[in-house]
């Protein structure tokens, strides 16, 4: 794996390298070189199998981390390409021309994290959320699921709310009232 990283370093600036296991390495590249690096790994280094594309929300740093995890079936190695993008206007080049399966991954990230991939065919098309979804992208860490459901789905006629602590206090010590 070290020699692959050396070869990539010649082509693009690589910010950080983590040798996690013998067959698993993570590298960080800049946003502008992201798709280029993935293309290079697929076409030249033989990382032909796309395992996942996912995002990690680093809320405190104001950034999203996109991880393209690629697999080389011949050499039996994995390479994770990490790309940090700005959280405020989250946008990344699309790579759906490399793997058709990426269309679905990019659609999901667009919906759940609010990261847009201009040019990817299904941006903005509802995938998992229903058509009437009004809230912010739900997988962002600052999205409070409990608060959202209380604001949106409560109160409704016929539903009452019981605070468990108060309820048990009344049930166990009725004379304290």
């Amino acid at each position: 794996m070290k020699d692959i990283v050396e070869r990539i370093k010649v082509k693009f600036p690589v910010a950080a390298v983590t040798f996690q296991r013998k067959d698993l390495t993570f590298i960080t590249v800049e946003k502008k070189h992201g798709v280029e690096a993935v293309t290079y790994l697929r076409d030249v280094e033989g990382f032909t199998h796309l395992v996942i594309l996912t995002a990690v929300d680093w809320l405190e740093e104001g950034e999203f981390q996109l991880t393209y995890l690629l697999n080389n079936p011949q050499a039996k190695q994995d390479m994770g390409v990490r790309v940090r993008i700005d959280r405020e206007n989250a946008e990344m080049q699309t790579a759906h021309h490399l793997w058709p399966a990426l269309v679905t991954y990019e659609q999901e990230l667009n919906e759940m994290f609010g990261i847009s991939f201009p040019g990817s065919p299904r941006q903005g098309v509802p995938f998992i959320l229903d058509e009437s979804w009004q809230g912010p992208p739900p997988y962002r860490r600052d999205f409070d699921t409990k608060q959202y459901s209380e604001d949106t789905y409560f109160p409704r006629p016929g539903r009452t709310k019981i605070d468990p602590a108060e309820h048990m206090k009344k049930k166990l010590y009725p004379e304290a009232e």
Partner: protein, 393 residues
Amino acid sequence: MMLTFKEDRSLFPETGKDGKPVIDWESGKFTKIWQGPVHPGMTGNMSLELTIQGDEIMDCVTHVGYLHRGFEKLMERRRFIQCFPICVRVAVPEPDFNEYCLASTIEELGGIEVPEAADWMRTLLLEMSRLQSFLAQMGGQGSSFGLGLIGQWTVWARDLVLDRFEEITGGRVYHMHMPPGGVRSLLPAGFEARMTDTLDKISGVMEEVERVMLNNSVFKTRAIGLGYIDPKWVDEYGITGPNARGAGVPKDVRKDYPYLMYDKLDFDVHVEYESDVFARTKVRYNDILTTIDLIRQIVPRIPKSGEFMADVPNVLHWKIPYGETYKRAECTRGEYGYYTVTDGSGYPRRINVRGPSYTHAVTLMEKMAINLNIADTAGVMSSLHTYPPEIER
């Protein structure tokens, strides 16, 4: 003019740049119908939005439906040990692979060594899980072509495996037997004899299944040549497991990246080259026989006593240092994996599940459905062996 499936293909609508037919709604030739979400021919709560001409599908969009959602988000809000009851729900008929993948990523990031007895035990649980999941799929595959009898036999056989699970773990469907560090217990007394008896019964059922399903002229006529997967799609669409092996690509995580005790076991990877529904059914049939053989190899080698749990910090106050990793396992549908990111706190920063259904049921199914007869859709769908909760995790 109504065209049937075997007539001149050139009379069908012209195709656009993306290879899909150009659909002119004004012409009145096309109809939009929904297959699923509650028809038994579909897998559970999934549905396909089909544009048809006559009885032939022109366009297909997968809708993953409404099940229990947001597992990954739920896990971000819980301590590591509390993630286990959630992660098993990601693939309902096959929960042990989730447990194993999540536990092993946590072990790797937290620096825990698992005792050998626990590794043997995990191998057994994963193979038993594979066996019951394959049996359920085999029944669904038969049923979607009208052979309901196969389903009745294999569901009976699957129940026997669940009985053995109940003996070991106390649970039939969700087991939660592999926390980080090892397993909760070793085998109960007299287990080997009962397991051998179960495997003998299942082998008997499989002989009948071969006679009634794989040698059935109705099944063969419908399944051969149906649902073709081009071997070059395997890399493009991320196809793994029996769907790839049916297309002649010998992909098996158990052989390629041996985990647990698989490098100490003797088994072969089955490959078929026709790449249709029948080939995939044959691959799964042979995989069941392999799994039965593997369980026979594993059970006598599990230690009767000894250490089966590593020394793990108090799980409720366990903080795992910053890191990220990915672990994979071969489930019945292909490569299963967990990508876990930690940030030094007692909660995971992000857990991403790589379920094989994700790529199979959405992008691939939408491509395969084009020019398919409506009657064959359910058969093709069940031959891909997808589970909806894995898609809308």
